[in-house]
Symmetry: C2
Subunit: 326 residues, 2 copies
């Protein structure tokens, strides 16, 4: 069977999303859900889920409810994370707690989490159990990742290893679960399911590290986000933690000083931190780590039993996401 291209799967999913707009009372609860889902984004999780279903011979249409479930869950986590991070904007628009208020954002988020489950509950009974097990396990891990992320803000002794575990939980497991759920729906065996899960996990790690890299070394025009946001917010990213690991005592002092909150001039701060990063070749180290994860991901995909043409579509999609400058 010939697979849809990712762009076609995206169109298919956007149609589904349109058909699923919630027109229930109270509007004050459901409008924020419709709003955040309408802000767009690349919809990479549902596309991965649909792609994985087709990779194992399933029809994408069989997996559309599950794709909605994954996207609903992802958007639930955005709404609640934005409250916790006090983020004013998301995709160029006001966040839910800004447009409405924090209470509405909490409660609409809760409802979206329940709605996510309801989409998975539409699956036929024999696959519903296994899919729900993957989903609940993943949802717990995403919460754990967000908690570690918050805990790290006030922890001066975060290790590189702990950081990698945090992004595994906060970001990578949901991509991995998207692939795995698609495979379960298509009726794939557990071996290939796990291979594709690991592929998603490793490529997810690579995506997140790439994101860290672009925040400091990307081009603001194409990257879109305000550059140096992580440095200005004292975020303990891979770049910062790698720099700390490699720094001599003098460089360490500079980094600690500027990440202590005592640094008052943003431009001076960025300049000083960048100087240390460049002295220690942090960009190169991060690129190496990204390639390491990317290679691990490709090895897993290579190992996977599926048609070579179909695997190529998955590889192309991943490489497009990796190579993105925005």
């Amino acid at each position: 069977m010939i697979m849809h291209r990712p762009d076609d799967l995206l169109v298919l999913f956007e149609h589904k999303l349109q058909a699923e707009i919630i027109r229930k009372e109270p509007q004050s609860l459901y409008d924020p859900a419709n709003y955040i889902l309408s802000l767009g984004g690349k919809r990479i999780r549902p596309v991965m889920l649909l792609m994985s279903c087709e990779l194992f011979g399933g029809r994408a249409e069989m997996a559309l409810d599950a794709a909605m479930g994954i996207e609903m869950f992802h958007n639930f986590s955005l709404v609640h994370d934005d409250i916790m991070d006090r983020a004013p904007m998301r995709r160029g628009k006001p966040t839910v707690h800004e447009k409405w208020n924090a209470n509405t954002a909490i409660l609409s988020g809760d409802t979206m989490l329940v709605l996510a489950y309801r989409y998975f509950q539409r699956l036929s009974p024999h696959i519903q159990g296994p899919v729900l097990n993957v989903f609940s396990q993943t949802a717990m891990e995403v919460c754990e990742g967000q908690q570690y992320d918050m805990d790290f803000e006030s922890d001066d002794r975060v290790s590189l290893e702990e950081y990698l575990e945090m992004i595994r939980l906060k970001t990578a497991v949901l991509l991995a679960a998207s692939y795995k759920i698609g495979a379960i729906i298509a009726g794939a065996d557990s071996g290939p399911q796990e291979d594709l899960y690991d592929f998603g996990l490793m490529s997810g790690m690579a995506f997140q590290l790439k994101d860290d890299l672009l925040d400091t070394y990307g081009d603001e025009k194409t990257f879109g986000k305000r550059i140096y946001g992580d440095i200005l917010a004292n975020k303990k990213t891979f770049l910062y933690l790698k720099a700390l690991e490699l720094a001599n005592p003098q460089q360490k002092d500079i980094l600690y000083h500027h990440y202590s909150g005592k640094s008052v001039h943003p431009e001076e701060k960025v300049k000083a931190v960048l100087t240390v990063f460049n002295q220690l070749d942090v960009q190169h180290h991060t690129e190496n780590k990204i390639l390491e994860y990317y290679q691990k991901a490709l090895d897993r995909l290579e190992h996977l039993e599926a048609g070579p043409g179909n695997k190529m579509l998955v590889r192309e999609y991943t490489s497009k996401l990796m190579g993105r400058s925005h």
Copy 2:
């Protein structure tokens, strides 16, 4: 089969709860969940669920995971509601967002909602689907009820009917679902399932109206909560809305004035509102409404096909909850 008495079911459930204390990392995420669950309470939802399972010939042990799921969900809703209501205390102890902070309360609450699902996912496959359908539907309704409750704060035209619909969603459906899930686990037919659901719904309405009544006409010593809390907080309870319905223009003015936030002396406010309530015999009207729901509940129970001795235990438990002065 002889049923356990409610007190014995409570002991059984408390043992289960002890065995389920979460000892996972990050503690900062799971400690608040353990904390709120340890604060006690009457555990009426799990007891109802276990009782219902036994009513239809099931063993309470079969339903312990589901009972945990219901109690976990209830406590999730308490944690998030307390943030939204800015409540400093719960059962005489600091609320989660007070003891930790709002972010921790949001995220721990989210995790508890996922954990609730995980308990239901432990049920055997053939009952998991029906139970999850009831649970998700109920969880949505509880969120809708909380949203209406918040919306009503800034709405001056709430009707008695809308208020009753709000408490049905916010409070009664979860009691009804507890009974129904117990019945599903025991393998009861859909007729008796629905009868017991309606019994839970009607008695839940009676409980909530009794709660409204006690806040104004209860004895502070035995009721425990600060009396007149609803009046002081301008809560549009059954009592207030009934009074508005019956009031003459002069009495309406008094009520509107004191619920407008312009009333500055708490004692004067309570005195003025109480005077109008008493003139209109609001206490009596509320008691009548409670009895109406209670009678409907008993009629449903009467209609239910189950052993008369076992039904008596359910009736006694309900009447004990109704007659409670605390």
